[in-house]
């Protein structure tokens, strides 16, 4: 999966990839004060193209809001919601809108799920539908945080640690390995990292083609940018 960290104050963005074995579950957001947790499980391609490396994507997300007693499991097949033990199942094939006491859900058919947790967070999960007979790829999901300002300062996770911004400096760019993509040095969290100017896609408005977002790419699974290392974010279950 590709992570993108937007920094409106700097009018810039950071990006990095996380690759591990398919099936790994990563913690994306964890806020101990509000009791909000978002975990995601990766999937791989149906089969690996011998000519390329194996890519992974998110295939399932598990979202918990302790205070509201909410659990949400979103896969490429279905959406399971439970609130204080009451359960409901929603399908990607229908336009659905559910307005609850503390949570609003809006499914846009075969495209996106918008989740608003009262006074807490708002996010969108995008469904990428792939041609069923595609030899390698399968359906996968994207996770976009729309409003994170109500998370506490203690929020962490692969995405959560950036909700209150990140301080960094970038040196003058210089020619890198790829002639179209200059490199630079980034000074962040006490590290000096070699980064590459590239872009990643925002699929919220155009789920098929996406829109390019220029960003500084941090190599090697975001090492140096993320706190700790990748194993610190792997968890044993979705909930």
């Amino acid at each position: 999966p590709h992570f993108i960290i937007e920094l409106p104050d700097k009018n810039d963005a950071l990006c990095f990839n996380i690759n591990d074995k398919p099936g790994t579950i990563f913690n994306l957001v964890k806020d101990p004060l509000t009791g909000t947790v978002v975990n995601g499980q990766t999937i791989g391609d149906k089969k690996v193209n011998p000519a390329s490396k194996e890519n992974t994507y998110f295939g399932r997300f598990g979202i918990i809001h302790e205070k509201f007693g909410i659990r949400l499991m979103v896969s490429t097949q279905e959406i399971l919601v439970s609130e204080h033990g009451k359960q409901a199942k929603l399908f990607w094939s229908d336009n659905t809108s559910v307005k609850g006491l503390n949570m609003d859900l809006q499914v846009t058919k075969d495209r996106s799920l918008t989740v608003t947790l009262r006074n807490s967070v708002k996010f969108v999960i995008i469904l990428h539908k792939v041609w069923k007979k595609h030899p390698y790829h399968q359906d996968y999901l994207g996770f976009y945080t729309l409003d994170s300002h109500l998370f506490s300062r203690r929020v962490n996770g692969l995405l959560g640690q950036f909700y209150h911004g990140v301080q960094f400096e970038v040196s003058e760019p210089f020619a890198g390995k790829d002639v179209d993509k200059p490199d630079a040095f980034m000074f962040v969290k006490g590290h000096r990292l070699l980064v590459t100017r590239g872009w990643q896609k925002d699929f919220r408005n155009d789920v098929k083609n996406g829109e390019n977002v220029p960003c500084w790419f941090i190599h090697n699974n975001g090492t140096g940018l993320i706190d700790g290392d990748l194993t610190d974010y792997t968890v044993s279950g979705l909930f």
């Binding site: 999966p1 590709h2 992570f3 993108i4 960290i5 937007e6 920094l7 409106p8 104050d9 996380i18 994306l28 995601g40 890519n55 994507y57 998110f58 609003d104 809006q106 918008t114 608003t116 006074n119 708002k122 969108v124 995008i126 990428h128 996968y140 994207g142 996770f143 976009y144 945080t145 729309l146 409003d147 994170s148 300002h149 109500l150 692969l158 995405l159 950036f162 909700y163 209150h164 911004g165 990643q200 896609k201 925002d202 699929f203 919220r204 408005n205």
Partner: protein, 618 residues
Amino acid sequence: SVNSAETEVQSVKIDCKVASRFAHTVMTSTALNKANVSQEVFFEVELPKTAFITNFSMEIDGKTYVGEVKEKEKAKKQYEKAVSSGQTAGLVKASGRKMEKFSVSVNIAANSNITFTLTYEELLQRHFGKYEIMIRVKPKQLVQHFEIAADIYEPQGIAFLDTYATFITNELLPLVEKTVTDKKAHLSFSPTLDQQRKCPDCDGTLIDGDFFIKYDVNRVQDLGDIQIVNGYFVHFFAPADLQRLPKNVVFVIDRSGSMSGKKMEQTREALQTILDDLYEEDHFGLITFDDKIVEWRPSLSNATKKNVNAAKTFVKNIQAVGWTNINDAVLRAVDILTAAEKNKTVPGNSASMIILLTDGDPTFGEQNLDIIKNNVKNAIGGNMSLFCLGFGYDVDYNFLDVMAKQNDGLARRIYEASDAVLQLQGFYDEVASPLLSEVHFNYPEDTVNSLTGSYFKQLFNGSEIVVAGQLNDIEMNDFAVEVSAQGAENYFVAKGQASAQKWDTIFPDQEYIFGDFTERLWAYLTIQQLLDKKDKGTPEEKANATAEALELSLKYNFVTPLTSMVVTKPETDEKPEDTLIADKLTEDQRTGVSTPSQTVPQTSYSYASSPINWVDGD
């Protein structure tokens, strides 16, 4: 409107009568079904939010179905019965910033006609030196007889009167007839079928938009104008030629994360102009807050050019991030104003106010709304007024409204739109020029009773204070009146005698207008004030105010937040008799309508420029 060419809207008439600012509007529409089968006819009317519906009726082939105003709880029982039998109910919906929509549809039999009549009443409020009547007309098709007629009777004399409409073209302009004499104005607009047409051969109508009438009355006396009619009196107070009071204002600006992007940008832009508009004799301060409270300066500054420029630089650099600590921010503003008064760094005759701008619920520090209201009320202690601006739809507007009213101010919603800057500046302009403070109205206790509010923290330039009451003796024709207040140069005291005028001489042939207008004006104003009290008083005061407001609403047939109008639709071949409900919406219910930020969250202003972090595939 009608769905079929075989049904025609025969007439639409809007008749508005205003007597001493109290407007009584009747909208009547008649349709005829010429078909051999039954047809559905829709009646949709938009009325001002500030108005109360007082009557609704449908006349079908000589039989009249009249709406009945009932206590909300009782009406609800009927409504629930209707809902449980599969029928739809609510007739009133929010519509835009100023209006709410009343709509009903009825199936009418072949070759029969229907007449809908809706009546509503409101007290016109003076803003920026004028009263405004707004009539929204959207007949959707050509109408055989279309007419807007307005008659205005103002015993003080009409100073000026303007009309315009958003749909009036050069061809339609001469059709607006206007006759203004000293105390009376008559307006009418009645285009023929051909004049309504968009083009010679088409059926589209030009009549689609808002019709405005704006006017003011003559103001001369210090005491204001007092009218005595039928045992009721109303006192209009907005004296001319008063000098402005210096003001001490602290702007408390929310810069939490949800303000980021457009809202913060618009706030910065509006403040640039607002700061420029401060008068040199004013004192001001600025506080910005997220979870931290940041003052521009620890005490008030004179609004000199140099200080204003420094404040503008500070404002330019406000950035949105973090949580929302309303409690500590407002309390800090109170401290600054209190210190200024205590240290006598501001003039003794000045008016102190806090203007709070926020877009969300408190999420940091004290978050219990009742405790915040108490803290603010105790800290202010009646020594200054608090005005609250709720930006967007995520605010708990009711909280801001009550907190402002508890502290002699008012709340206003700022709608998220491209004109938000103008809305902010407009609100500031309304309160920018206090003319008097601590305004007390005194009437002899043995002469009058059931007075509406008679103390006002401030009188602002361009506005008007209205007090109404009952006379102990219906035959009484005069009584003593005194108004006292703090003025700019000295203490303002106006004394005089109110006396009943000879209406039949002032308005010969129209004396019927004054039959019960003053009484209804008193009832309208009393209900409005009781509804405010219901929100802000002690539990006992709340209960008493609710009971009293309900009693008056029922007595005067007003659809208020405490009552509902039950409308019975006639039985048809397909459906049994329907029961529908017309309610008065509260601000909370209005915000329940779809807004851009709720229906299209991805592109809403609130989140468009928040940091959006995501994970996805190629």
